[in-house]
Symmetry: C2
Subunit: 145 residues, 2 copies
Amino acid sequence: MDEEEARRRFSQARVARMATADVRGRPYVVPIVFAVDGEAIYSVVDAKPKRSLRLRRLANIEANPQVSLLVDQYDEDWGALWWARADGRARVVGTGPEYERAIALLRAKYPQYEVWAPIGPAIVVSVGAWRGWSAAVAPRRGPSA
Amino acid sequence: MDEEEARRRFSQARVARMATADVRGRPYVVPIVFAVDGEAIYSVVDAKPKRSLRLRRLANIEANPQVSLLVDQYDEDWGALWWARADGRARVVGTGPEYERAIALLRAKYPQYEVWAPIGPAIVVSVGAWRGWSAAVAPRRGPSA
């Protein structure tokens, strides 16, 4: 799957999983809702219930900006599997025009924000590479070839 | 969600996402099929097409055994969202009784292995903590409370 197709599939998905790591290299993965605009991915801390607004994902990003985000489709027909991944660097943005832009993009994609309002900082990912894989377009290997 | 419920939901899922990190703390997230047995999670490199069998996930684990694995359910009703996460340490196992056990567990869970055969090493995760969250059981915060 080429970079443009990976970006297209990633952008259209409703949920992604974001991996961060702390300063000791300990990875941490969470599901996120998100919006893509060009080479940026936006997400925001919203009103879905949490133990605290000082989320570990934010602390990790402030200590180590490297992130990896994944969208994937599971199917019992493994010939229909695909994934798209965005690797890049993240920043935490709490106010200002970039924050407002993140909120606007997220509200446009998810009407749910009318109920589950954004109440915390945004994460802005600058994507360095889009990658994708699809069982349907990849060269076959092994007994099913 | 308590630890036992997180483990139960994780175990029953068909796909998880595994985050590893390299020696420089750069995270990397991939979808995996897996089987849970007690406090261990097994996956194996199978015949689904890949660029190489020297997968980055294996190199990362050999350099840094810390891993984080996520199962989540997305729903347009955000009140139905939940996730379950397993954090632990991973090892790469290529032969022997533990490898055979991994293959047996995976074949029992996924009939697809009859076509997409295991052809590479297994990853064995020793889970240190199961954690889970559900919008339906968590305390509400924000305007929808």
